[in-house]
């Protein structure tokens, strides 16, 4: 991977933290937990979602992407089985598959599930990207999921937002 300037990384992180903070405010956690019809499922012919809460969450995520200029990708996670999280409503490309979307929880995401915001670096097909993970809370202020806000660290070569048309 290309060497990333510290200033680029710092600015990207600051931008993503602002978006992630807004995400924790605006994503409705009650809607979020209502998305899967059967929370035990995460793929297959029987996997269904409740349309209305899904659409409200997705619309919120897409609006969040517009808060700041520059490359921004958003996806959301819920706990799924021991030590794993499952992608629930993604918007952009992500290094981890959405079907099925359950993967081991990395430390930064574990922090977010514990109620704190944390940062980690990943790579998408060799391109470095930065992610900020923040909690999604329901109306009881319980953490019910994690929002992951990402950006490419070399946006001139690759963008996580590929819906910008």
């Amino acid at each position: 991977m290309a060497r990333i300037k510290a200033s680029v990384r710092k600015a990207t992180e600051a931008r993503l933290r602002r978006v992630a903070h807004a995400a924790t405010v605006f994503i409705d956690g009650d809607d979020f937990v209502a998305v899967p019809v059967d929370p035990k499922l995460n793929t297959g012919d029987d996997y269904q979602v409740n349309h209305e809460p899904f659409i409200r969450v997705k619309r919120t995520l897409m609006k969040l992407k517009r808060l700041e200029a520059g490359d921004v990708g958003v996806t959301t996670w819920r706990p799924f089985g021991p030590g794993q999280a499952e992608q629930v409503v993604p918007v952009d490309i992500h290094p981890l598959a959405v079907r099925p979307g359950n993967h081991p929880i990395p430390p930064a995401m574990a922090e977010a599930f514990a109620g704190r915001t944390a940062v980690h670096e990943q790579a998408y097909q060799g391109h470095p990207m930065l992610s900020v993970c923040a909690p999604i809370r329901n109306s009881m202020e319980e953490v019910v999921g994690v929002v992951e806000v990402s950006a490419s660290l070399e946006p001139e070569r690759f963008k996580v937002d590929q819906l910008d048309y």
């Binding site: 996997y47 269904q48 659409i55 897409m62 409503v89 490309i93 079907r99 819906l163 048309y165």
Partner: protein, 582 residues
């Protein structure tokens, strides 16, 4: 003893010939086919073929290893056009099976065969070399007998194979009479070459080669131009700008440049299938294009959706691209997480209504330019039997239905066709390691019997390419780059599909000449045991309806599913006889 068995023999394409087994087990029927089979008379060293003008005939030429190194293959074609391919095997579990066809030129072949073999998947224990020989009977070829000959030089000796050809007194139409759709996703270079490694003109040329290969086989190639996320692939779509009232196309150039050759037909120059516009083409419309899903289902969302589709319709009309049906199709599935509905392989009624809303809006928007054929395509599987009778079914121009679900629903199929929609049933290309290749042949016959407009193989290219060939039920075309060929390679299964498509043309020509399906039905009843539409369906069997299961074949006990290959050959010959008398 072994030497009395023929060292060179021929077989029909539907007969799998093992590249490795001893000759006694070269086919599922032992070494009988090497001595004689429905096209081969070993005693006379003669292949017997029959076909109409504008038809391609094909057979396998088998050279046992003990014949020695194959030095040359020459064809005395008597004015016809020949084609030659080397059958290349791929791994299927513990076995290897022929599937890929790599083109060769007639004449000296030893160097070319050696070069292909070096680049092909490795295996041990070769017992024979198998080639596929094609004979094209050009339009206008007079009826009558032709004596052709193949000369195979192997191990320093020349072997003559006589080809006794009967040309029927009729001609097949150039265009396919039944749609044989090969569905695909993403970009063609993904099958073998990364897009960034190609220049733009080269990527268009390569893509067009895949479409042309399909047309050469009376089939249709399809590329869905967007991902599950709604990401537009490559430069398949026009460029958009603005939001809300200002959402519009600002540049059609990418779309026009990429698809223009298919839309005016020039990309098919030289194809035996004709130089006419592509019959169907996916539009890039999806849940996030041209309207941004951020607004769904607000008035602004539908304004963006309608405004851009209207603009596209006008553009297609202005460009004169009126020979193609442009499909609005939503490939979304809830399990992919990006959109809330199963709009592909729809299982639940509540998911149908999103399709209905989008479909209605598309037709309203496209009405500004009625001569641009923008249609709605739906993948209706699990609940096709109910969906077909929804009030909005009239808004659907193309129904693509899982083969199992379709087999149970003759009334639904007839109903939507009466409304003006076309019906295709879909499944897989059939396993490479099948006991025979009859299933690849039967699709076109089933389409005719069920009065369907076509069928769809999911899919043409597949996802694994050479590195992950799989059982073959997900692809029937290979990228040629492995052999230094900038284009696609057909499989034997695609060649068998082609034959089925030509058989469908026989059925169509007979029906046209006699004014009804009665003559064809009578022949099929006497030969295949299916004398009418109901015999081809599986009403009430209740075992194969589904959605996501890609059925390559069927387990039904219906006569068409149990008839041997000689039955199909006989049916075809009887059809030809009836056409000549009609």
């Amino acid at each position: 003893m072994a030497n009395r068995k023929p060292a060179i023999w021929c077989a029909d394409l539907v007969v799998p010939v093992s590249p490795t087994e001893p000759q006694a087990q070269a086919t599922a029927e032992g070494d009988g086919p090497a001595a004689a089979n429905e096209i081969w008379d070993g005693a006379a060293a003669t292949v017997r073929l029959a076909g109409a003008a504008n038809e391609v005939l094909a057979f396998q030429l088998v050279v046992e290893k003990r014949a020695g190194r194959v030095e040359s293959i020459d064809l005395d074609a008597a004015g016809l056009v020949g084609g030659l391919f080397l059958n290349v095997p791929v791994a299927q579990g513990e076995r290897v099976c022929d599937d890929v066809l790599v083109p060769l030129a007639f004449g000296p072949v030893d160097d070319a065969v050696a070069a292909i073999t070096r680049k092909a998947p490795r295996f041990t224990g070769r017992g024979r070399w198998t080639f596929t020989v094609e004979l094209y009977i050009p339009p206008g070829t007079p009826a009558g007998g032709r004596d052709l000959a193949l000369t195979v030089r192997a191990g320093g000796a020349a072997h003559r194979v006589n080809v006794a050809l009967k040309v029927y007194a009729f001609e097949l139409p150039a265009a396919a009479t039944c749609t044989a759709d090969l569905n695909n996703y993403s970009v063609v270079p993904g099958a073998g070459v990364e897009e960034q490694d190609l220049d733009y003109a080269a990527s268009i040329k390569l893509t067009e080669a895949y479409f042309r290969l399909a047309r050469d086989h009376r089939a249709l190639f399809h590329l869905l131009p967007y991902s599950q996320a709604g990401r537009i692939t490559g430069r398949y779509a026009p460029l958009l700008a603005g939001r809300g009232r200002d959402r519009r196309v600002v540049d059609f150039e990418p779309f026009d440049t990429f698809w223009g050759g298919l839309l005016d037909g020039s990309a098919f120059a030289g194809s035996r299938g004709g130089e006419h516009p592509i019959e169907y083409l996916y539009l890039p419309v999806n849940g996030n294009w041209p309207a941004t899903f951020e607004k769904y289902p607000s008035p602004g969302y539908w304004h963006e959706y309608r405004q851009v589709i209207s603009q596209i319709a006008r553009h297609l009309s202005e460009r004169g691209w009126r020979g193609t049906k442009f499909e609005v199709f939503f490939n979304h599935k809830a399990r992919w997480k990006f959109f809330p509905w199963d709009m592909d392989e729809i299982r639940f009624d509540r998911d149908n209504y999103a399709t209905a809303d989008y479909g209605r809006a598309a037709l309203e928007a496209a009405a500004v330019a009625p001569d641009a054929q923008i249609i709605n395509r739906i993948d209706s599987s699990w609940i096709f039997d109910r969906t077909a009778f929804e009030p909005w079914a009239k808004d659907i121009g193309l129904w693509v239905v899982n083969r199992g679900s379709h087999s149970e629903a003759p009334d639904a199929s007839a109903h939507v066709r009466k409304l003006g929609g076309a019906v295709w049933f879909y499944g897989g290309a059939g396993p490479i390691a099948a006991a025979d290749r009859l299933d690849n042949l039967r699709w076109s016959w089933i389409a005719w019997g069920r009065e369907a407009d076509g069928f769809c193989w999911w899919n043409g290219i597949g996802f694994g390419s050479w590195e992950k060939v799989g059982p073959g039920t997900g692809h029937c075309i290979y990228p040629g780059q492995r052999f230094g060929i900038d284009g696609p390679l057909p499989s034997i299964r695609l060649k068998v599909l082609h034959r089925g498509q030509q058989d469908h043309a026989y059925l169509t020509v007979l029906t046209q000449r006699t004014g009804s399906r009665a003559s064809a039905d009578a022949i099929l009843g006497q030969t295949i045991g299916a004398s009418g539409r109901e015999d081809w369906y599986q009403r009430g069997e209740g075992v194969e309806a589904g959605g996501a299961d890609i059925l390559a074949g069927s387990s039904t006990g219906k006569a068409w599913n149990t008839a041997g290959r000689e039955v199909w050959a006989n049916a075809r010959a009887r059809l030809a006889e009836a056409i000549e008398k009609a």
